[in-house]
């Protein structure tokens, strides 16, 4: 691990200012992904700003009937919150489908959004990877690509975003609240927060240097049956091959977002009008423009079958 200087931030404004002022600075909260990457020297921050002391660990009701989740709320506490379990079940289901009890006790809401891909070539410093070393090439294209993205890919990168939580947040139309080094706050729709790889796969999100996530907000509950179905190689502690986050109303209408298929949670609102007509009708729009490799082409029929199963389960519960 490369050496770094370390400070404990005392306020969000101080943290953002310090990050903008110090070259090579990074925030650290749970650290479960960042430290892993620092040990491999894939991440080499010169300065760490520990934000764990900031009072961003509350879940509060918002005036419009939603919830404001502090950036430092641990995944365990978010999943266990009685309001989240009752009104945003898809979020609890997605959270408990991810990682392990130990990691969920450490990982934060903001950190979960900012985790990097688990593409094995990103982790293997002996291999070219445009996300790790821009311009070096993509080893996954033409390599072992069974886990990789099939939607929104580019010639530079076919990595997936590994978060389950973010997929549920996409279905819930969440927003990400941030504080910028100049002291101004902004609110970013989750749909716009993560970026497709394009020709800059090294950039995962729209955050500016020093910009600090302070909260994630959920709009007021939309009701319906909440389901998160994760298909993976083993029953626990594995990343998704594909996952489906769905909110289905009694009349069969609803929302659906996918994980494990793209560089960001994948949702096509225009496909959702087809939900009462079944999975095939939805996926004809949801998966439009897919670009597969020989090894990950199975993901397209797997999405359709998983969605069909989810819709059947929702019908049974309605």
């Amino acid at each position: 691990m490369k050496s770094f200087t370390y400070e404990r931030a005392r306020s969000p404004a101080e943290a953002a200012a310090a990050a903008a002022r110090t070259q090579g600075a990074k925030f650290i909260a749970g650290g479960t992904n960042l430290l892993d990457l620092m040990k491999l020297e894939i991440e080499t921050p010169a300065h760490l700003i520990d934000v764990n002391g900031l009072a961003l660990d509350k879940i509060e009701a918002t005036p419009d009937g939603g919830l404001r989740i502090g950036a430092l709320v641990r995944n365990t506490d978010l999943a266990a919150d009685t309001r989240v379990r009752r009104d945003y079940g898809v979020l609890t289901r997605a959270l408990v489908a991810g990682a392990t009890g130990q990691l969920r006790n450490m990982a934060t809401t903001a950190g979960n959004l900012l985790q990097r891909t688990r593409c094995p070539y990103f982790y293997d410093t002996n291999q070219p990877c445009n996300k790790r070393v821009p311009g070096s090439g993509c080893s996954a294209i033409g390599g072992f690509s069974r886990q990789h993205a099939v939607l929104g890919v580019s010639d530079a990168c076919i990595a997936t975003h590994p978060s389950d939580m973010a997929v549920a947040l996409r279905a819930l139309d969440a927003s990400v609240e941030t504080l910028r080094p100049n002291g101004s706050a902004r609110k970013i729709a989750i749909a716009d927060f993560h970026q497709l790889p394009g020709d800059k796969p090294q950039v995962d999100t729209v955050l500016m240097p020093g910009e600090l996530i302070t909260a994630v907000t959920l709009p007021k509950p939309v009701g319906g049956t909440h389901i998160y179905r994760k298909v993976r190689d083993r029953a626990s502690f594995a990343f998704a091959l594909v996952s489906v986050a769905a909110i289905v109303q009694r009349d069969g209408t609803g929302r659906v977002a996918l994980g494990g298929v793209a560089h960001k949670p994948w949702r096509v609102e225009a496909s959702e009008a087809q939900m009462p007509r079944g999975a095939k009708a939805v996926t004809s729009k949801l998966l439009a423009g897919a670009r597969t490799t020989k090894e990950n082409a199975y993901k397209l029929p797997l999405v359709e079958r998983t969605l069909a199963s989810v819709l059947a389960e929702a019908k049974g519960q309605a």
């Binding site: 050496s3 365990t76 289901r93 392990t100 006790n105 029953a235």
Partner: protein, 211 residues
């Protein structure tokens, strides 16, 4: 390997090196390491409580909590299995929550209360979970066992606190203490000897529920 700047040398350096002895061949790389900003270690202070006793440490900021516990404080019960958060052998309990001590820095735990396997019980006075692991043969080689036991103790508290898991059927009801729940909740602790079913039996006995 990854830092190609280590082998980048200027034409001038190349000419000097090329004309000199073997001893000088190592010189360009150490010089360029300075030029590329090799960063000196940073010593940080942290104080926390381990197994009920206050500890104050001065250590390299890079030191993980696991290395601080093992190498600085000599609590060698917690094991370094994978050092990347996948095996759970380093699981300790921090402020009542189980965590993997390999994926967190010691300096991030100012003021925390940390419990390792050494703090749960002693050879003369075993924690009930330790006694149950012995009784049910919940291990073979024993390497993963301290992590398994710390995790198991915390799992029972998590179920009591109503924290749901992936296999909890009804999110709005109290989670039940079933073998399926225990297996899911213990999935972050790997046992390569395969003592899993005996581990489930041991935890079940301590919980007081029936299988």
């Amino acid at each position: 390997m990854q830092d190609s700047s280590d082998i980048k040398i200027t034409r001038r350096e190349f000419l000097i090196t090329g004309a000199s002895s073997a001893a000088a061949i190592a010189w360009p790389s150490s010089t360029s390491a300075q030029q590329s900003g090799a960063r000196p270690p940073v010593i940080s202070r942290v104080s926390f409580e381990v197994n009920g006793k206050a500890q104050e440490l001065q250590l390299d900021a890079r030191t993980t909590l696991l290395d601080a516990l093992r190498e600085h404080l000599h609590f060698t019960g917690s094991k370094k299995g994978c050092d990347q958060g996948q095996c759970g052998a380093c699981t300790v309990i921090i402020n009542g929550r189980r965590m993997v001590s390999c994926l967190t820095l010691a300096v991030m735990h100012q003021g925390d209360k940390i419990t390792t396997i050494e703090g749960l019980g002693t050879p003369d006075k075993l924690h009930p979970m330790q006694a149950a692991f012995v009784k049910h043969d919940g291990y073979q080689c024993g390497y993963c066992t301290p992590g398994q036991i710390c995790s198991a103790v915390a799992v029972l508290d998590e179920i009591k606190a109503g924290i749901p898991s992936h296999v909890t059927a009804d999110l709005n009801a109290q989670a039940q203490l079933t073998p399926a729940e225990l297996r899911e909740r213990m999935s972050g602790n790997i046992c390569r000897c395969g003592a899993y079913s005996n581990i489930v039996d041991a935890i079940t006995e301590v919980s007081g529920s029936k299988t």
